[in-house]
């Protein structure tokens, strides 16, 4: 069988023009699919930036909250009630809101302000400059060094600015794992400073962060929070909820989904079409093989091999191309969101297998039906 596949390989690869066309079709399809899904994955990942960066295990929120960016403040009694739930080791409030910063240059820039619980600083970021304790100093803010950092004029420790007519000063520079989606810089400060500097509604607690006593306690915590009329989600559940919101309830998600489907169909048509043409143009060869004594099964293996080989090669090239483009784009646009995940790669792989399957199915049907007689009657 090895020899037969080697023949199949030579028939495929030695026909350089057609092989190149086939490869290009599949490469293009994979490239499109990986790009689309990577952009989407990047967007989804960033939409949960706050959840990932704060890192709390359980989040309590109003049931109507869809994403960490759109919180609905909860009254103070909720915090007390949550603290008294069995299984909660401790619970702290988190402030999250938008504010306007006026830079020294006079330029206004909107920012996201995260207010950490004053006593515990639970969810604090990792500092690359300065001390976290300095966050208690007068007017102190910690700035996150992410893709949006330069929009604040690349501040340093000691840089001053105005937040809603209050003085602010940078006391530390932090590093976080994930940049936000909305292209605005992030400042950390204490919960109390946040609510006193930023005009607030009657209620101020955006989220309550819970550290459970154990993972087993989580289901009962969730049930009891629900009894209060609020919702407790684990980190992963919150990320999932956020993703679902962007996927199904915003134009972004639906459009990317549609584009992904289109790229798949385009890719499938291109590669299916070229493979079909390849088979048609080689029908005479398959007919000759049949006449010489190749069994139907052997011809099927040859076609399957050719389709699989081309698909895998195209898959590799497509992924390579997409990674290259994303890398180059990141170099030029630090906040470029696309992100290749294993899920993307797996998805594209499955799609490529589907393409290979459909193409070879068409080819096999055609080849099994040929009558060698029709070919060499001359």
């Amino acid at each position: 069988m090895r020899g037969i596949l080697k023949i199949a390989y030579k028939l495929l690869v030695n026909d350089k023009g057609k092989f190149a066309a086939l490869l290009m079709g599949i490469t293009f399809a994979v490239f499109l699919m990986v790009m689309m899904t990577s952009m989407f994955a990047g967007i989804l990942h960033r939409s949960s930036a706050t959840v990932l960066n704060i890192g709390a295990k359980v989040w309590v929120m109003d049931p109507a909250v869809n994403t960490p960016a759109n919180s609905i403040p909860m009254p103070d009694y909720v915090l007390d009630a949550v603290r008294s739930i069995n299984g909660v080791r401790y619970a702290v409030p988190l402030y999250s809101g938008g504010a306007l910063v006026k830079l020294r240059s006079g330029v206004y820039q909107s920012v996201t302000v995260i207010g950490l619980d004053d006593s515990s600083l639970y969810g604090r970021p990792e500092l690359i400059e300065g001390q976290i304790e300095d966050i208690y100093a007068e007017n102190a803010f910690v700035v996150v060094k992410d893709a949006e950092f330069r929009k604040l004029g690349n501040p340093r420790v000691g840089t001053e600015f105005e937040v809603n007519d209050h003085r602010g000063v940078i006391v530390g520079i932090a590093r976080v794992t994930t940049s936000g989606l909305f292209g605005v810089p992030t400042l950390y400060t204490t919960f109390n400073r946040a609510i006193s500097y930023i005009p607030s509604t009657r209620f101020t607690t955006a989220f309550i962060l819970i550290e459970p006593k154990s993972n087993e306690a989580v289901p009962s915590i969730k049930a009891q929070v629900k009894a209060l009329g609020y919702e407790a989600l684990t980190k992963d559940e919150f990320i999932q909820k956020t993703s679902n919101f962007y996927k199904y309830q915003t134009g972004v998600g639906t459009n990317v989904l549609i584009m992904t489907v289109i790229s798949f169909i385009v890719g499938l048509s291109i590669s299916g079409q070229t493979f079909y043409t390849f088979i048609l143009e080689n029908l005479e060869k398959f007919g000759a093989l049949k006449a010489i004594g190749a069994k139907g099964k052997e011809l099927v293996y040859m076609i399957l091999f050719q389709a699989t080989f081309t698909s895998l090669a195209g898959y590799g090239l497509g992924i390579g191309l997409a990674s290259l483009l994303i890398t180059v784009a990141r170099l030029r646009l630090p906040s470029y969101a696309a992100m290749i995940t294993f899920v993307n790669l797996g998805f594209a792989f499955v799609m490529v297998l589907v393409i290979a399957g459909i193409s070879s199915y068409i080819g096999v049907r055609k080849v099994l039906r040929i009558e060698p007689f029709d070919i060499f009657r001359g």
Binding site: G3, I7, D15, L289, G293, K297, P372, F373
Partner: protein
């Protein structure tokens, strides 16, 4: 009495149905023997290629049988029939049907590879057959680089590579000039034909009639007679 290589009995083949129905072969029976070079001659459209395809296991007849060693090949299952084509028959197509993307030696090795010989061994053996037809030095070239006569010889090498006992040629000289055609048939008669082989050649090229042991005449799908060939020696 020569040994029987194959027996065709009352073969009938038609194409299409109703008004479009063409009957290409209308009840043909004949024997082919080992050690003989049997010619099938007749005008174009008389059903020669159709008949060859039926007796070589490529085209299923509507009626009649083809028996080889007392077995009707058209009663075989498709895989068994493929084995028959691979092991018993060598077919030299009119247009050669060589693979342009493979080298000459790889072309010749195809039947061996289909017989599951390993790659290197197939190439070695194929090289031997190329040597028989005098084209060893062309082994690494693609067949398109060869002349018509050389391609014909490659096709012959491929047909004999699986060591079949029935060799079938469809108009072997049709696309060759007279001299080359004659030389090839001469070569086949002297080097390929033997007591354990039967060679059936379809042609209407009178320049090669002198090599025939027996000539079967066909017209409009029927056998119109047999003649003893000049090449026949008692």
């Amino acid at each position: 009495m020569a040994d029987l290589a194959m027996r065709a009995t009352e073969l009938v083949k038609w194409f299409g149905e109703g008004d479009a129905k063409t009957v290409a072969v209308r009840g043909v029976s004949f024997d082919a023997n080992f050690g003989e070079m049997l010619y099938i001659v007749g005008p174009s459209g008389s059903g020669k290629t159709t008949l060859l395809s039926i007796i070589s296991g490529i085209l299923r007849p509507n009626e009649g049988t083809v028996s080889v060693e007392d077995e009707d090949i058209w009663n075989m299952k498709s895989d068994q029939l493929a084995e028959f084509r691979l092991n018993r028959v060598g077919f030299v197509f009119q247009d050669y049907h060589l693979f342009p993307r493979l080298t000459t030696v790889e072309n010749v090795a195809i039947p061996l590879i289909l017989k599951r010989l390993d790659w290197n061994k197939s190439m070695d053996e194929a090289m031997g057959f190329l040597e028989i037809v005098g084209l060893k030095d062309r082994a690494r070239l693609p067949p398109v680089k060869l002349s018509g006569g050389e391609q014909q010889r490659v096709a012959i090498a491929r047909a004999i590579a699986s060591r079949p006992d029935i060799l079938i040629f469809d108009e072997p000289t049709a696309s060759l000039d007279g001299d080359t055609g004659r030389r090839i048939v001469d070569f086949v008669k002297k080097n390929i034909l033997n007591e354990k082989r039967c060679i059936i050649i379809v042609t209407h090229d009178s320049r090669i009639f002198e090599y025939a042991d027996r000539i079967m005449k066909m017209e409009d799908g029927r056998i119109t007679g047999f003649e003893q060939g000049v090449g026949h020696e008692e």
